[in-house]
Symmetry: C2
Subunit: 193 residues, 2 copies
């Protein structure tokens, strides 16, 4: 068969495309190979296994999310920056739900590189909080809390857990973010006291 010279990045790009269009649930190596006009076994010339491929897709997803967040907070400070970051995060989760899910399934595989990638998630959050006068310890806690709110909200919204009541989901989200800003201001006072 006339070979087409596929490379590792080609496979990763195709995997991303397939996951986004067909859903993470319907992803399979055989179908991916078929789309590349290749047999499934041939994929193993470029990737070690499926987990590694997922991990690679996850790196892409994290970098995309980071880019969106940093772009959103550019030139903004304090509450404005925090709200912009939250909005960007929310938009990413809603517009690219399948890719977002890959990030979540990522840390299952214990890996050093993933640990490093974790900082790419934290970095924009730290940047958004930078203009608050907080201790290092406070920032570590608050960063976890903010991530919990963002991720918890989006994953439950995505799963359809918020359809029970007739109040707007976007309003709930903004109320949550404003609540976090309240906590930021409160922590600031505690730090100064």
């Amino acid at each position: 068969m006339a070979r087409q010279g596929l490379t590792r990045p080609d496979i990763i790009a195709a995997a991303i495309k397939m996951i986004e269009s067909e859903g993470l649930h319907n992803f399979s190596l055989r179908e991916l190979a078929s789309r590349l006009h290749i047999k499934a076994a041939s994929l193993y010339n470029h990737i070690r296994n499926m987990d590694e491929l997922y991990t690679e897709v996850g790196y892409y997803a994290i970098s995309e999310l980071k880019k969106a967040q940093l772009g959103a907070i550019a030139g903004k400070r304090r509450g404005e920056a925090v709200e912009a970051l939250a909005d960007a995060y929310h938009r990413f989760g809603k517009e690219r739900p399948e890719i977002y899910k890959v990030i979540l399934s990522l840390p299952m595989v214990k890996n050093d590189a993933i640990h490093r990638a974790g900082f790419d998630i934290v970095e924009p959050i730290m940047a958004a909080m930078a203009d608050y006068h907080l201790t290092g310890e406070q920032m570590m806690h608050l960063q976890r809390i903010f991530r919990s709110i963002l991720h918890g909200f989006i994953s439950q919204e995505e799963a359809g857990c918020f359809r029970q009541y007739p109040v707007d989901v976007g309003d709930s989200y903004h109320m949550a973010v404003r609540g976090f800003i309240l906590l930021l201001e409160n922590s600031e006072k505690e730090a100064e006291a």
Copy 2:
């Protein structure tokens, strides 16, 4: 083969046991059948398919979680009740992580009964907030926010996302809960104004 007269509840109970001991990831119908001294195909005399079995396990998990939460807030009021509920939720997620995961994967399957079960999750939260003077609309928003914090925190902790910094994860959790209580008190003031 001498039949043993298995019933649907038997299968569900065995599935719960297997998921808790072997992990949701390692669950399979063939292994489940083997533990019941039965062939996999025979399971289909009692359940329609695997999704239905997961759903049934999910109902059990939700009722267990609800029981733990209601027990925790019994006789407590306001902030004390909210903290007790959060602790119970956290304990459930840490002590029974596999069963907890089933709850999360539940709403993927669109189903009326699941929609009803959703209220079993909301009920204890509403009860814990009952002594705050809030409008109905506020409670709907705040219940979503509280669930986001609880779920977001536990799922990220479970996934190992909180190992990046040397501050105690339990401290972060309590800070998050106290932050939510702050938002509750703030909302109360807004409602009275």
